[in-house]
Amino acid sequence: MATESSYYVPEQSRLPIFATIGIFLMAFGAATWINGGSSYIFFAGSLAMATVLWFWFAAVIKENMQGLNSDQLKRSYVWGMGWFIFSEVMFFAAFFGALYYIRTFTLPWLGGEGDRGSSNMLWEGFQNTWPLMVTPEQAVSGDAAKVVGPKGIIDPWHLPLINTVLLLASSVTVHIAHVYLKKGNRKGFNGWLTATVALGGAFLFFQIEEYLEAYQHLGLTLESGIYGTTFFMLTGFHGAHVTLGTIMLLIMLLRSVIANHFKPDDHFGFEAATWYWHFVDVVWVGLFIFVYVLGA
């Protein structure tokens, strides 16, 4: 419900058209690069996009500090962030859904069970196991197979467990930081936020460790059949989101330390970043259960 009489509608702005050019160069450049062309366009686009985002966020922050943003306008940002996170949830849902479908339907059928078990005729000798160590192609062609299953998988109770503790702890620390901010305790806020960023960094460090182990010792790669496919796509997209979330929180920290931004009653930029952080945390819990524990 509108309760204020003036909603700030910005004057015309160059930001969107530059952002368009940035995102277009990124997309066109990525396609060019992947198809074997040069990578310059992609990096030029990424640089352009990062620059535009910098100025765009700076403009929004400046408007807020000038008092242009009514409570109603701030609610628009709240709705925007909330539904953006929901769209991210649906993106992950596609990949979790793929994992579920493969395990519940595809592999049993390929292995000769159930309604479509006759598909086993194409892959004679293939047996349904999870984790899938022997791919259907391997079952048929043996050593001549191009898609070869992994030799081993990641033990959930080692690095992934550490990462679970780190990420769950970081959700607590970011919440404590938020409480300090609301109380107006700048020192406490900065300290707990620093701890959160550090925990995010530690998580990423261990995730890279885990990937190195998988690639170097376990033969677990993107190319190692559907187990490697689902494992790396789910954990990889999650890792990308943790990276982005850590960068967001780091920027919030720098804004607080350097520029003294955020007031106890006005800090949606930070709060949005914490929402995002809690979201990646919840996704991780899903990954830990469905990919690591139930996948082992």
Binding site: I17, S76, W79, G80, F95, A98, T106, I226, T229
Partner: protein, 516 residues
Amino acid sequence: MAHGPKPGFTRWLYTTNHKDIGSMYLWFSFAMFLLGGCMALVIRAELFQPGLQIVQPGFFNQMTTMHGLIMVFGAVMPAFVGLANWMVPMMIGAPDMALPRMNNWSFWILPFAFAMLVSTLFMEGGAPDFGWTFYAPLSTEYAPPSVTFFIFAVHIMGASSIMGAINIVATILNMRAPGMTLMKMPLFVWTWLITAYLLIAVMPVLAGVVTMMLMDIHFGTSFFSAAGGGDPVLFQHVFWFFGHPEVYIMILPAFGIVSAIIPTFARKPLFGYSSMVYATASIAFLSFIVWAHHMFTVGMPIAGELFFMYATMLIAVPTGVKVFNWVTTMFRGSMTFETPMLFSIAFVILFTIGGFSGLMLAIAPADFQYHDTYFVVAHFHYVLVPGAIFSITAGVYYWLPKWTGNMYNESMGKVHFWLAFVGLNVTFFPMHFVGLAGMPRRIPDYALQFADFNQIASVGAFLFGAAQILFLFNVIRTVRGGKKATDEVWENPEGLEWSVPSPAPYHTFSTPPVVR
């Protein structure tokens, strides 16, 4: 705040005004409609006679693929977003969209994304040729190299749609004028709110499925390859989980438009407003649990066939409620038949035909006969052309006087309607027959016995295409001048948009009106 638009062409590049952005969306959509239409005419020209006359089979496949992609993502969706941009703020008494700069970004991504998509026609190996549904492994193992550009084009147009949808949700939930409670909102606003939720829920899934394709093609993953333990049918499940809500994204706002137009020209309030709202919500919910009816023949357990068959048939219930309400609104009204009303009545009748052929397709055992025939093509063109396209056209005629301050030429509008109406039925009705007789879709050549109906369809297609030139001419003439429209335009229409002057000032409702 400035009082009028800035001079010069940079107005369009830098604008934050919902009316400017709405106009750009509509013009872009019309350009894509003509481009996609020309591709359809290439298809119909080739199919005028059996045998290969005009194009090679490979190019024919590129035409069917690009026609579908351009019409769905370039013509219909942006047209509805354009109408939402123009009308939603005016209908709820808001000064603009909630996030005006992001609004401009959402629009400008589209011309760039489609430039990238259309440029694939000139790439080595040609444009995507695997159909607009891009089933794996046609779109992965056997795809032309340009598929990578197709994937990234889909990514950025998806980003544009998600941002557009978030903007609409924030606008509707946050910016209604005092007193504009949810159940007082015009149905166009309601249907768009629900459509926006569908978009936010399924566009990321589309992004997911094209990402899986990209990984399978270039990075050795096995999502859609049984050799590695994946499954090409997985593609179809993920795609149609997006794809079925997507077809309702293209029809729910249409329901909103005709629900605005029919009461005006029947001079009666809309019958069963709240049942319309609940029916829309029910259709949106059901759209998430019917996706596999697109793949009855792919090999599913019998329980799956049954579930998706019955769930699909359930959709007929809320849709029937809507058709009943539109008819009852007209019943004993003092009706007049201006152009928007003609298009709306045609919508009700022809969309219902499309709905009935949908019910036929929903019957799983019968679908084994119809699947991938011209009957399917007839079905979805009956819901999309007189459904989405006619409602958009009706909406443009209905609100054009409010946008431009001038009345369009009524006789030319009526001629446009009758040409389009005849053209579309001549094009698509015979397709039912050739489909039931067994003519498969997406082929450049066909058996001799289908020749008569195909010739009729091709003649109809060119008639329908030519009629759109008249539309373009009429709109341009109205933009440039003509008989002045009154503020109300029509006789006592309902809605806040009619309470502002014609043409609508550059900024409306800077101070929110109070709704009783």
